[in-house]
């Protein structure tokens, strides 16, 4: 069905594999009347035929047709059909069918997208379903629960055998669970290719926690870890700037900082006497107000390294206070390379490394400012 749609465009492109790609490429800017007519006819045929069965043979046939189409496309573009990658395909389609649409997903596409096999037919030619829990409705979820319970029974049997021999020991090592978390319900649904209710999800978590709570639960460690997602540690996300050495052997590090609309860049040199230069001027001259100078000094004062470094700063944009804030963030980031892990963690907890997300809120129509409304008059 979808293949015959493309035969009209066959002279141009050969057979494209994906159904969606067919419809997309056909409604392209090459407006040839016979293409429009054929899609209109085909839409009626598709409705009558019913939903396509995504069997394994169907998928294989689509893959073969996609390869043939890919080779035709490569010949058309004058490139080597053997080494034609997906990026080349995307480039060629963008060249042949230029689209001004803003939505990237609405543009012409020639790609094989494999939908999860849940769409595939679940029974064989004689009508017998493949999975023994097919008639429950949620076969993968219930087979997972069945498997888990089977493992629990096995562990209990193993424990009983050890107890009978007298080799039962309570101090079996526990699996490290702090660095990971359980899959969420959505992730489990994606894994099982089925929708499950929140009650089902709770039961699953209870059962797997019960498995781990048993003394010899670590026997099924690798099975359990399949259902855990590792947590990204907070402080490891911070990329520490690498300290370099300049001609005279002085170690220095550079970093940037932003606050409101100010951008700043700081070069922190070691072995200095605590002089700070901002945009070529002395900091006392650039920041007459004490509050701004305190902001500059706070990171160094926090780690008690006030007199050790020389700072060479550049800052632009924003006002007095926001420039000071941008500089403070840049100084803290530059300092990270000279500190130990523990001191970095304390700096992070003090909030020195967090960029301030507050920006000016826009004024809305019908109001005087961002929040202030016009004076309300009763009559």
């Amino acid at each position: 069905m979808a293949a015959s749609c493309v035969r009209t465009v066959g002279s141009l492109l050969g057979k494209c594999g994906n159904c969606s790609s067919n419809i997309n490429t056909v409604t392209s800017q090459l407006s040839r009347r016979q293409i429009c007519v054929s899609t209109a006819l085909l839409k009626k045929n598709l409705a009558a035929a019913g939903p396509e069965k995504f069997t394994v043979e169907f998928i294989q046939k689509q893959v073969e047709e996609f390869d043939i189409g890919k080779r035709h496309l490569a010949n058309m573009m004058g490139e080597d059909p053997e080494n034609f990658t997906q990026e080349d395909i995307d480039r060629s389609i963008a060249y042949l069918f230029p689209s001004g649409l803003f939505e990237k997903k609405a543009r012409p596409l020639m790609k094989l997208i494999f939908f999860p096999l849940h769409e595939a037919v679940q029974w064989g030619a004689d009508g017998r379903p493949f999975h023994f829990l097919f008639y429950t409705g949620k076969q993968s979820y219930y087979s997972l629960m069945h498997e888990l319970y089977g493992k629990i029974l096995n562990i209990e049997k193993h424990q009983d055998r050890l107890r009978a021999k007298g080799l039962f020991s309570q101090d079996a090592k526990a699996i490290a669970l702090d660095t990971s978390r359980w899959f969420t319900k959505e992730e489990l649904e994606v894994l099982l290719v089925e929708t499950i209710s929140s009650h089902n999800y709770d039961r699953f978590i209870q059962l797997i926690e019960r498995l781990l709570s048993m003394p010899y639960g670590n026997m099924e460690e690798e099975f359990v870890l399949q259902y855990r997602r590792p947590l990204e540690a907070q402080s490891k996300k911070q990329s520490v700037p690498v300290p370099e050495r300049d001609d005279k052997g002085v170690a220095f590090s550079t970093s940037d900082g932003r606050r409101k609309t100010s951008n700043s860049s700081v070069v922190l040199r070691d072995g200095g006497s605590g002089r700070i230069t901002v945009n070529g001027q002395e900091y006392l001259q650039y920041f007459p107000v004490l509050q701004d100078r305190e902001q500059l000094m706070f990171p160094l004062q926090f780690v008690d390294l006030l007199g050790r470094f020389d700072l060479e700063c550049t800052v632009s944009g924003g006002g007095r206070s926001s420039q000071a804030g941008a500089l403070r963030l840049a100084i803290s980031r530059a300092l990270l390379s000279f500190l130990s892990e523990g001191e970095q963690e304390t700096m992070r907890q003090a909030g020195l490394l967090t960029p301030d997300p507050r920006v000016r809120e826009r004024k809305k129509p019908g109001q005087e400012g961002a929040r202030r409304k016009f004076t309300w008059k009763k009559r």
């Binding site: 029974w123 009508g127 023994f132 097919f134 008639y135 429950t136 409705g137 069945h146 029974l153």
Partner: protein, 271 residues
Amino acid sequence: MAARALTRGLLGLRHSRTVTLTYSSGHHYATATSVESPQPQVDEYTDKILNQPLQKPDFFRVSELFSLKDLFDARVHLGHKKGCRHRLMEPYLYGCRLNHDIIDLDQTVEHLQLALNFTAHVAYRGGIILFVSRRRQFSHLVECTAKDCEEYAHTRYWQGGLLTNANIQYGSGVRLPDLIIFLSTLNNVFQQHVGIRDAAKMNIPTVGVVDSNCNPSLVTYPIPGNDDTPVTMELYCRLFKMTINRAKDKRKQMEILHGLSAPSTPSSWHE
């Protein structure tokens, strides 16, 4: 009894659809022993493979799988207390001792033999068998039994339209079970399992272990017996597994013996 004859006739009708397209009218069983085919030329496959088991009353020798003593040792005769007794179970009870109902094992033996024989015939003809039980203690056992016989199990929450709304829930062209075996006819709130009523609606024959607090009326082949003890459930599962495996092996044997194989699937079972 009438229900049983009716479902036997219906099974015969349903079975006839899976047979080759050479003849249109199907078999109707009058009795288990004699089968009359309306056509003068009988298909060889049908005659040798499908009709032959119907010649003898106990072709698969299921009565050899168990004895009354086995049932007694597995405590099949223990029913519930007198207060829980269901009125329709009174014919199947032997008596009552110290307020505990005792199920008549002679009747159980007959009923169990009939049920196992029927299961064997269904399995012999490649029917789909679904094991249902809503008892949490035996859920894993029942699922393992089903997996071992290569049949199907459902020991979980029964969604309303599983049998009656199957085409929408599973997709069109799904094949429903040909036999449902209830290893416990009650659900978790001591009401009759919805599957019994649904199977009766969809003309699917049922085999069910009915305890003294259950309603045996809608079950095609009731087996009066205990459904609460682990020993008893293991006995039932073992018996069903053995019959089904025996029937399937016999089928393979017969096909090899006569050098015939099943006709190409007409896929007429989803009318």
